[in-house]
Symmetry: C2
Subunit: 336 residues, 2 copies
């Protein structure tokens, strides 16, 4: 299993100071690294009960319109445990600062010593979310994707599309965004990365024209509706990571042949699945977990006409896995 035990006594030697790894070094370490196999393995570990992931810690700062989340845990047999701190400070835009921020702490699981501090400023959360989208597409999208639909034009819409490169040869994209200028910028940037991007002001047209659709917005009411759905489509929803957010009509989940959650327990509390269960469009028993689909212990897509939906709310095993990947890449770079 890629996520476990590759370096039984890795990290620093006992007594050595922790490795402090900044954003540039993280980017350099990850250049050329394929995140998909590790994230797949992490989901399998999670769904097979081999991950220890306590409840998410939450600190609210209402006067700053801010929240901080602490996700942490380890995968059985792995040499590290990881603590991730991620924050959203929603007044930062007015100050010319990014709203999202974060860092990851990597500790040796045998001694508790701090092996590394990854000052990623939230990049690794963005990347592992993008990688999860690609994993979902790899296991659930139809065999031949003719057109990718992207709903949203922000940072995560970029990561989602970029990561899909590793799991589909399709480079033809139809993109929708609320803000025309931001959408045009999205088109230009993604074109520079090898995609052919058409933009649209009609979000329903994305569902009608694409086989693989990713939604990555902060919408708080459904953007995609049931009546635009067509057979064979796969939809990955990554935007709704907190209880108030929603991107999909619950009727889409009712119509879907397969509904997949990154974490069933978490998706029953937040995300598209929570909305669909609350509105009685879906029963909890009808939801399967991504790690089980990857492992083959749960049924995913069975044919080209199936409609599949993946709801990704973000699980600590993804953070644990990407932190390990960065640290090992940095250490490997030092050895050569």
């Amino acid at each position: 299993m890629a996520a476990t035990a590759r370096l039984p006594s890795a990290g620093r030697s006992p007594g050595a100071p922790p490795r402090i790894i900044g954003l540039d070094e993280i980017r350099a370490a990850l250049a050329g690294v394929d995140l998909i196999p590790g994230i797949e393995a992490a989901f399998v570990a999670y769904s097979s009960g081999r991950a220890v992931v306590p409840p998410v810690g939450e600190l609210l700062l209402p006067d700053m319109q801010a929240d901080v989340h602490i996700k942490y845990g380890y995968i059985a047999g792995a040499p590290y445990y990881v603590i991730k701190i991620a924050s959203g400070f929603y007044l930062n835009t007015e100050k010319g600062l990014p709203t999202g921020n974060g860092l990851m702490l990597v500790f040796r699981r045998d001694t508790g010593e701090l092996a590394a501090i990854l000052l990623d400023e939230g990049l690794l959360t963005d990347l592992r979310t993008g990688a999860a989208g690609a994993v979902a597409a790899k296991h659930l999208a139809p065999a031949r994707v003719r057109r990718i639909g992207i709903v949203g034009s922000g940072t995560q819409a970029r990561h989602q599309l970029r990561m899909l490169k590793t799991v589909t040869p399709c480079r033809d994209v139809l993109a929708w965004g609320r803000h025309p200028e931001r959408l045009a910028r999205y088109r230009d940037e993604m074109a520079a990365e090898g995609f052919t991007v058409e933009t649209t002001a009609d979000v329903g047209g994305v569902l009608a024209a694409c086989d693989l659709v990713v939604t990555a917005t902060a919408a708080r009411a459904p953007l995609l509706l049931r009546d635009q759905l067509r057979p064979g489509i796969h939809i990955t929803a990554v935007g709704a990571d907190s209880p108030g957010k929603q991107e999909l009509d619950p009727l889409i989940l009712r119509r879907a042949d397969v509904v997949v959650a990154d974490s069933v327990s978490q998706c029953l509390e937040r995300g598209e699945i929570a909305h669909a269960v609350r509105s009685r469009c879906l029963r909890p028993d009808d939801v399967v977990e991504l790690g089980a689909v990857i492992a083959g212990t749960a049924r995913g897509r069975t044919g080209p006409e199936d409609i599949t939906v993946a709801d990704l709310t973000g699980v600590a095993v993804q953070d644990i896995e990407i932190a390990r990947t960065v640290l090992e890449a940095v250490l490997a770079g030092e050895r050569t």
Copy 2:
């Protein structure tokens, strides 16, 4: 209030990298700093509802006989929020490594940016626990302390005695410890710091001979018994910070005129008070909070014959406060 708002826009400038502060720098920054007023203010903030302190996060690693605790929060109006990670790896002794480890992260409360990483390896937890003991003694011990009793001969027994220097002129000490060699070392080290230390193999004799007794052991059954108690004594128990630990006979808490908790809610779950409440020697309503005693909103000692007990289990406000103190001392040192 010392704990709040002294530096409304302190820390780093927006966009600047975080300050990484190692153990030597922390020691240097704290040299000559009186921690007592800040810790007092932090307890007052906590007991008056001005602190936001979510439930402690806990990660257990049973195969390593280890646990990790995450304490975090902020004091209303303060420029920072703080996340502390503290671990106990109980097989480390065999590896020649300290069992306790930790670090603190200090974030700007206005932007969420990481202002500083304090790589204190657990020292700040030890110091803030020592300072809390001194605060308890300051507000609860009899006016004239003739002899200090120390039960335990480990790291925290050292910090407790050292911190008492700032709140009592008494330097006469009677110390008990389970291991004669470690106790002799304790005596010699504390003598070098200006104390006159007699040692004893009779723990009951400590209660009989001292007016101010601090227990700082990892005992899992009562060491101090009710029948050795005498009028006027103050006892601070700091050892029992997790549910299985216990240092005091619950009958001592029944006999006491005043029972003080650093956090009532936490002490009802762990520590001496939890044991006494469970064995019906104490009612929750009879427990007052240290911050309320300091603020004068709850009754502490009323006369020289009162028996008082303080049960200290450790509250995140202490971590928040000492992290602020270190960061401000470092920044002040850079300005001069």
